[in-house]
Every structure is written in C-alpha cells, then in structure tokens.
C-alpha cells in the first residue's frame, strides 16, 4: 500500500471527470442535433 492511500487521487478524479465530460458532452451534442433536425422538419411542414 502506498504511504498515503490518497496519494495521486488527482489522477483518478481527472480521469473520471474527463470521461463524464466526453460522454455527457457527446450525448448533449446528439440531443441538440436531434432538436435542430426536428425544428427543421417542423419549419418545412409549416412552409417556413
């Protein structure tokens, strides 16, 4: 066991944060893409 069990905790936290940012960010990007595509369809439907 390392002398301090919390040593290098920053690396673990950084990895977990980066993973969440990338995956949540991608999901949000897909969700926004869907919204913009659907508003485009509604625009076409209403003749805008």
């Amino acid at each position: 066991m390392p002398a301090d069990p919390n040593a290098n905790a920053g690396y673990m936290i950084a990895a977990y944060v980066v993973t969440a940012v990338i995956l949540v960010g991608y999901a949000v990007m897909l969700w926004r893409k869907r919204r913009s595509q659907e508003s485009g369809i509604r625009g076409q439907g209403s003749g805008v």
Binding site: T19, V24, A27, L30, I41
Partner: protein, 232 residues
C-alpha cells in the same frame, strides 16, 4: 403504415433514451468504484481509473469492429443503411477512443512515471484512432455518395483487421501495458468486488455504445431523408 422519416425519428428518440440510461449507469459505476471497491495495494487510487479505461477500450474496439463488419456487408449488398451504420459506429468509436486515450495516460503517469511511451499496445491503439480519424476525413472529402461509401468501407475493413491485432499486442510484443485480466483464456484474475464493478462498467459502456450508435444512425437516416449529410 409508419413512414421512413417517422421510423428514423423513433429510432433517434429510442437511442437518446438508451444513452440517458447509460449515463445513469455511469453514475452508478462511479459510486460503486469510489465507495465499494477496495483500494489496490500497490497502485493506490489511480488503479480505479481501470473501471473507465478498460470499458472505454472495449466499446471503442467493439464500435470499430462493427464498422468493419458493416463495411464488408456494404461492399457485398450495397445497402446504404449499412454505410450509415458503419459511419455512425466510426463516430461513436472515436468518442470512446478519446476516453481511452485520455484516461490511459492519467493512469500511466502515477504508475509508470510517464504520460506516454511508444509501447506496442499504445502505438497500435493510436494508429487505430488515426485510421478512423482518416475514415471521417475521407467521408468529408468525397462528394459522390457511392464513391464515399465504397472507399470508406475499404478503410473500415482495414480497421477491423487492426482490432484483434491491438488486443494481441500484449502477447506478441514485450510491452509495459498490463495483460488482459478478463478477456483471456483462463479465468479472470481479480478480487470479487473489483470484478463485479468492472463487469457492471463493461455493461454500462456497452449500453452507451448501443445508445449513441442508435441515435447517430437515426440522425443520419433523418438527414439523408431530408437530403442533408452529416449527423455529427
């Protein structure tokens, strides 16, 4: 009867629901990894990076394998749905690769003492990442849909050839990278709590892969029905 546009919209919505469930699962994995699994004796807390790095690698390699399989089927059947599926899997594979390639060095620095080393596993993983960046660039550069699908299918198949090679590099070369601990001929060599967390994380990342690819495919189908091209 359901129109193609409506079907594509339903698929996109279903994909987003699956992705949201996957993200909830990711929160559960974080809780489990931080609260339930023990701290490894020699590596300390950075060992817990393993619960996101390994599943990200699994999902990336699975996505790139799907690109290759869909590409082979496209060249055989010439069905544009297969091309859209391959394109969607490639985009999602790059997202998981990004997770793998950022969390790997974050583990390497405290454990190996370096962010990066030109070790066989790391180098071939990077080559695979660049191959699929090239795949995306190629798709963006070609205007003719038939030509774009054909040429990118060839690159997708090259990627598929590279996938098992990346997995086997730790056996074929002398490498610093740890050997597989789950996907190996003998039984997994991990304490029960660690194995349970890893298996849950593998499941969650697979759900996220399914959710993202389904959404991305639904969006690509909607875009092609509207006469557009890229779905992001």
């Amino acid at each position: 009867m359901m129109t193609d546009a409506l079907r594509a919209r339903c698929l996109t919505r279903r994909g987003l629901t699956i992705s949201a469930l996957g993200l909830l699962g990711l929160a559960a994995v974080y809780l489990l990894a931080l609260r339930y699994t023990p701290v490894e004796r020699f590596q300390g807390l950075p060992q817990k990076i393993f619960y996101v790095h390994v599943p990200a690698a699994w999902s990336a390699l699975l996505a790139f394998s799907l690109v290759g399989i869909a590409s082979i089927l496209y060249l055989w059947l010439r069905d544009p749905r297969l091309d859209r599926f391959a394109e969607s899997s490639a985009a999602v594979g790059l997202v998981f690769s990004l997770v793998m390639l950022t969390t790997g060095p974050l583990w390497g620095k405290p454990v190996w003492g370096t962010w990066w080393t030109w070790d066989a596993r790391l180098t071939f993983t990077l080559i695979l990442f660049f191959l699929f960046l090239g795949y995306r660039a190629l798709r963006g550069a070609l205007q003719d849909p038939g030509e774009r699908a054909r040429f990118s299918a060839v690159v997708g198949i090259l990627g598929l050839v590279l996938v098992p090679f990346v997995h086997l590099t730790v056996y074929l070369f002398r490498t610093l990278h740890p050997q597989p601990i789950v996907l190996k001929p003998s039984a997994p060599s991990l304490p029960e709590e660690m194995l349970r967390t890893l298996l849950l994380s593998l499941g969650v990342f697979t759900v996220l892969l399914v959710g993202f690819v389904t959404t991305r495919y639904g969006l690509a189908t909607q875009a092609s029905l509207q006469g557009g091209e890229d779905a992001g």
